[in-house]
């Protein structure tokens, strides 16, 4: 198994890592396959994601896809962000080994869940 240089770059220097103070939405998801965990935090203004951060416990692919998805969603309208799929994240990283594709699902689900959380909170 070999990771692309881009995956290794995001693994080595993950973008937007850490906890966010007073996030507008939080997505907490676990990977049922191998037990990894991701938390994604978003800040939203005028239906646009203005900031995103993450914390992840997982393999190289899990950390790299977490990092990449935070980069991809920043500046996106919520409805556009919802269209980001795990394969889009993997593609943006120059691809993932086939047995590691399931790790990118974590990123997609965390994003969906963070947006749902934001909408739920706002609806109140």
């Amino acid at each position: 198994m070999a990771y692309s240089e881009k995956v290794m770059d995001h693994f080595r220097n993950p973008r937007n890592v850490g906890e966010m103070k007073d996030p507008d939405g939080v997505g907490k998801v676990g990977n049922p396959v191998c037990g990894d965990i991701m938390e994604l935090y978003i800040k939203v203004k005028d239906d646009t994601i203005v900031d995103a951060k993450f914390q992840t416990l997982g393999c190289g692919a899990a950390i790299a896809t977490s990092s990449m998805v935070t980069e991809m969603v920043k500046g996106q309208k919520l409805e556009d962000a919802l269209k980001i799929s795990n394969s889009m994240v993997a593609e943006a990283l120059g691809g993932l080994p086939s047995q590691k594709m399931h790790c990118s699902v974590l990123a997609e689900e965390a994003l969906q869940s963070a947006i749902t959380d934001y909408r739920k909170k706002k609806g109140k």
Binding site: F11, V33, L57, G58, Q99
Partner: protein, 393 residues
Amino acid sequence: MGRIYLDNNATTPVRPEVAEALARMLKGCYGNPSTLYCIGQEAHVEMEHARDVMAGILGCNREEIIFTSGGTESDNIAVLGAARANRKKGNHIITTKIEHHAVLNPCKALEKEGWSVTYLPVDEYGMVNPEDVERSITSGTALISIMHANNEVGTIQPIAEIGRIARAHKITFHTDAVQTFGKLSVNVNELGADLLSASSHKIYGPKGVGLLYVRKGTKILPIMFGGHQERSLRPGTENVPGIVGFGKAAELMAAEGPAEEARLLKLRERLWEGIKASVPHVKLNGHPTMRLAGTLNVIFEYVEGESIILSLDEHGICAASGSACTSDSLEPSHVLAAMGVPPEKSHGALRFSLGRENTTEDVDKVLEALPKVVEKLRSFSPIYKDFLKQQTV
């Protein structure tokens, strides 16, 4: 950046003397050892010298050694061959939950053929209880197969005791000694083994060659059919260069004896003491004393093993993990699971296995890199964050 190779339980670098022996055979000794003319006989003599070396290490007769293509093949011949040959006795096999897949999977294959297999549990240190072996024996037990030392955590099993039990019940006993051959005493009479597997590439020999010791009189059937080589138990023209290289490697291990094991033990303890002193929330896996000298299996809580391996690789350090994320099956280590380690803990398991090329400087370099690596990964681990929050309330 120099490479620090700490995965010697997976495989070892071929040592120069062995490489020389291999090259000599490949270049100048191509004869088929089954033929009668001179170059065939030259090959035969070389191969039989290797057999004598092995017989010396195992304390057996040369005729009792079958050269194979490696530990996996030896285990397969032993389990499938001895079970089927003893089918009249019954259809029951006793093994353990912590065997290498080279034993577990032949056992699973036999289950599909109608055999019943007892997979014995181990304690928290990865140790089999000989009393459990004795209790599991039935009138239909045809084979007992229990490894000498475990490859993941290094725990050394009470093989001599189990051997005595097997002998008392007249049951064929196999031990997978792939991790101990050439390192610990593997005298087959002291161990009470009827069958014993060993592999060349774990002792600085070439890959793809191993041996199976078969005690005289042991009932065993071949699993592969062809010529008369290796008493027809492993037909096919022998891997002569590989066997000669394996012989050289074993000879050198025997000459070094316990001195190298003592050196490795010191290095390993230096590594473990250093880790305990510099990284919080770590736990040792494996037996505190009855353990392979070079093996150190550690859980780093709140991080995942593959991410540690990738980070260490950036520092030129090679290690292995028991994490689900590093296995093709995406399942956590079956060995750690059998020891009662929950999946979320084995997630952070790392195995360092030291070998003859490792030095004190290597260990110190690991101790410099490792705390930083773990700290960085923990800095964005959601469960570490939760743990720290719990601490402050």
